[in-house]
Amino acid sequence: MRKRNPWIGALWFCAVVLVLGAFAAQVWQASFWYPSATDVSPGPVVRFLQQIADALVSPALYVGFGTIGGLLFLHARNRARRKS
């Protein structure tokens, strides 16, 4: 049985976490865009998390999708090597 490359599994994990985490952070941030009249202003912890989400959402999406693309390239390369 062929041994699986553990680094490829780790890369898939990172890519999925980056993409899904960025989507979740964006959705969470969007919930603050149209506050109702009864909503209280967010506290310091929420503001801190909002700033982190601001800084990380776009880079995480770029790198996550880039990682998936790179993994597909690596998969295609390994498959071509096995066939030749």
Binding site: N5, W7, L11, A55, L56, S58, A60, V63, L74
Partner: protein, 168 residues
């Protein structure tokens, strides 16, 4: 030994049994008929070797066990061959990881700083100041810094994935 019996007339470098003028003793048997001429049987090598005083080569005592094909029981057991050291991590790879971490955390820190300054600073009516320029630069730097830092970390993982070999 035959040397002492013959008064040292044999060449000490070679087995006396194969030199002219040698007469075998009653205990000694003739060499194997199957052995090719000129070859010395292994079980006779120790006997055939002349004493060190005659050869004048003291180092031969230490090298003799290595030259034997079959080790004697008195020889100390050979120690296990040392296991090869694990390959040292590439120093440039470590530098890349440090640079990636610095870029990610530096980008986040710059974003925090820019946010805090932006909330405190009222730019209306003040014109263009150095603080505004710095703020604009920080805003433009944050996302690329974090992106490149994350990409460096993922790139190092890709490099390890490509260099990975299954254990034998």
């Amino acid at each position: 030994m035959a040397d002492s019996a013959t008064g040292g007339r044999f060449d000490p470098r070679f087995d006396p049994r194969f030199q002219p003028g040698y007469t075998p003793g009653p205990k000694e048997s003739t060499p194997d008929a199957a052995a090719p001429p000129g070859s010395v049987p292994q079980h006779r090598e120790a006997e055939a070797a002349p004493p060190d005083e005659v050869r004048g080569d003291a180092s031969a005592v230490e090298t003799a066990p290595e030259q034997r094909d079959t080790p004697l029981e008195s020889d100390p057991p050979e120690p296990n061959p040392p296991e090869p050291d694990p390959p040292e991590p590439n120093p440039l790879e470590r530098t890349l990881l440090v640079a990636g971490a610095v870029l990610v955390f530096g980008g986040i820190a710059i974003a925090f700083w820019a946010n805090s300054v932006n909330y405190q600073y009222n730019s209306f009516g003040n014109g263009l100041s150095w603080q505004q320029l710095l703020l604009a630069a920080a805003w433009s730097l944050t996302a690329p810094m974090v992106t490149v830092g994350l990409a460096i970390g993922v790139g190092v993982m890709f490099r390890r994935a490509i260099a990975w070999k299954p254990p034998e």
